[in-house]
Amino acid sequence: MANNNEFRTCPDTGLQFHRPAETLMKLNAVVAVVFLLVGGILGLLLGLTRWPAIHLLGASDFYKVLTLHGIDVLIYWIIFFEIAVLYFTSSTLLKCRLATPRMAWLAFALMLIGAVTNNVAILQGNSSVMFTSYVPMQADPMFYLGLILFAVGALIASFVFLGTLVIARAEKTYEGSMPLVTFGALTAAIIAIFTIASGAIILIPTFLWSVGLIEGIDPIMYRVIWWAFGHSSQQINMATMVAVWYAVAAVAFGAKPLSEKMCRSAFLLYILFLQLASAHHILVDPGISSTWKIFNTSYAMYLAVLASMIHGLTVPGAIEAAQRKRGFNKGLFEWLRKAPWSNPSFSGVFLSIIIFGFLGGISGVVMGTEQINLIIHNTLYVPGHFHATVATGTTLAFMALTYWLVPVLFRRQVIFPKLASLQPYLFGLGMSGVALFMMGAGTLGIPRRHWDITFADSPLTHNFPEMANALLGFMGVSVLLAVVGGGLFCLLIVGSLLFGKRLSLTEKGETPLIAEPVTSYEGVGIGKIVAPGTLVLAMVFLTAFVLYYFINWKFLSQTWGLS
């Protein structure tokens, strides 16, 4: 180890923080939360506009806010936080100095400058082109330039992470294989590098086109390559989210993986197959063959879905086995009943797993089926899906980790602990409503990214079913609830960082911040099954999945013949 003054040891958890890494983790996490706050406020404006009874914003503001909301939440909130996670899982978990802190600062500066440039370009009003910025609709050059700068920064940060892994190995700061959580973060970093490269391949020519140096960009080429960035960037979120699930299970329960082999193999499946997929968005495009679509949209035979189903079992399974080892070994569900439901780190992760799986996972696979996509593409169902996956699943997992990082990383107590224990439920419930009602409205044909479904200024008109208006109203109410939950999170975290009771940098605090690791799962469970309760829950999930999947084939079979 280089110099002991460069490290701080957390008295509660024994984790070692390299000071430059610690500062960068804090900065990245704080900027992430600021973007979440901005994105949430924009989301409120959108929710109040698509609620037919209120219809708050005008058309031009609506499309501007929608562009900004998508980018701020899907890109900036998530990726700034991910960089903090990358530094934590490399430098802190491996007890290693951060590689090239100066490059990490450069990465942070580029990301921040890029994000702000891009935000300003959108706010100026000439770049209401949506998150996807499909050509030949053109945005201001600063819009693309901001995204490119941000991407370069994120790419540098990913290499700082990889460099740290190399140093840790060379300096032997740990024995054997890296921890599972770091392994998961490595998966995310590999996917991130692929993703950002794809983004660069398409956004750099698009930028050149916007300043007049290139004549045109082919729309199909744009869509195919852009989605290798747009969809895969969400796979970074997913890999990071799963790593956070494992981390919180270890922190709150001392859980060890049921088996390292299974969890790591599932992450390997992510690396091999998850970022393959970009066809989900181009299933009903002209000029792309069904063979390629089927292979791509299914991640080569659903091998990445298989990996997610594995994590969906092994995370709660490890929690169950650890709880059983701690004495809650009765029946199928004692471990769950006696879980710490008032600990927001646990409840956040548990809700994340359930909502991600049941709402986000099932809907994603169903709508990513080549033919079923015909009855879903570009309807409100699509944002419904990703509000369940990223906006709820990933966000809740990151919120859960943040509650733990406040005392460990920032050495402050979380203020208003009662409110904090309520917060994940408010946000989870609100966002589930948002996702479900959007999907419902989408099933009735309501389009996404649409300001006026009454077509008031149009020579022709269409009347959507009455039910659709009701669903959009329910969606509006859910948005309010989710904004209260999300706003509460931002207030609690910012408040804790400013006013939370300071914890000593050297003395142990009163409440333990990390559970004693469980070393073996021998003798727990029923028969030879260590996690029978989780297996039952997994079967409930599978049943819902199978039913919903075939219901959608039934819907499809009732519409016009197409060939």
Partner: protein, 179 residues
């Protein structure tokens, strides 16, 4: 050891699996394979598939073909803007998308199959046929040909569900299906 620490076995690959994991992986793998084979199955036995037929085109060429059809088969006009309603014979029919309209209005016969050609003249658009809820992406420069067989008579709307600028929410077209 916990997921935050290195695994006890130096080579994690050699660690035994838990039985619960094996059971679940087997079930999940079977389900993955079933879902995968549903797609080729539907191509053979299902009646709703996206066509693989598409051509490169230009706005001028596609507009000319659509106008030729409109000239020959217009049966009446609708609205103050005199949008032509075209009742073409079974065969090739054309629909163009542009800022911000679907043109022309088509009148088709139930249970007949038409080769519907769709392309955009400017930006990207989304063909969303309601209430049948059929959704296709419409691009400039590419002409998609999809064989449609309406299975119910009535009035259908084509909503645009790809954002195409400030008039996007006013972009709506019609297809009438007669007995």
């Amino acid at each position: 050891m916990s997921s935050l620490l290195p695994p006890p076995d130096r080579i994690w690959w050699k660690e035994p699996l838990e039985r619960v994991e094996l059971i679940w992986v087997a079930i999940a793998l079977v389900w993955s394979i079933v879902m995968f084979f549903m797609m080729p199955y539907w191509h053979v036995y299902g009646k709703q598939n996206v066509s693989n037929e598409a051509y490169k085109t230009t706005p001028e060429a596609f507009k000319a073909k659509t106008e030729a059809m409109v000239e020959q088969y217009t049966v009446r006009t609708e609205t103050a803007g005199n949008i032509p309603v075209v009742r073409p014979p079974v065969g090739d029919v054309y629909l163009l998308a542009r800022l911000w309209e679907w043109w022309p209005i088509l009148e088709l016969e139930k249970d007949q199959s038409y080769r519907l050609h769709i392309a955009s003249l400017d930006w990207q658009h989304g063909f969303s046929l309601q209430p049948a809820n059929i959704n296709l992406q419409v691009l400039p420069g590419y002409e998609m040909v999809v064989t449609v067989t309406p299975n119910k008579s009535g009035e259908y709307s084509i909503v645009c569900n790809e954002y195409c600028g400030i008039g996007h929410h006013r972009m709506i077209g019609k297809i009438y299906v007669t007995e």
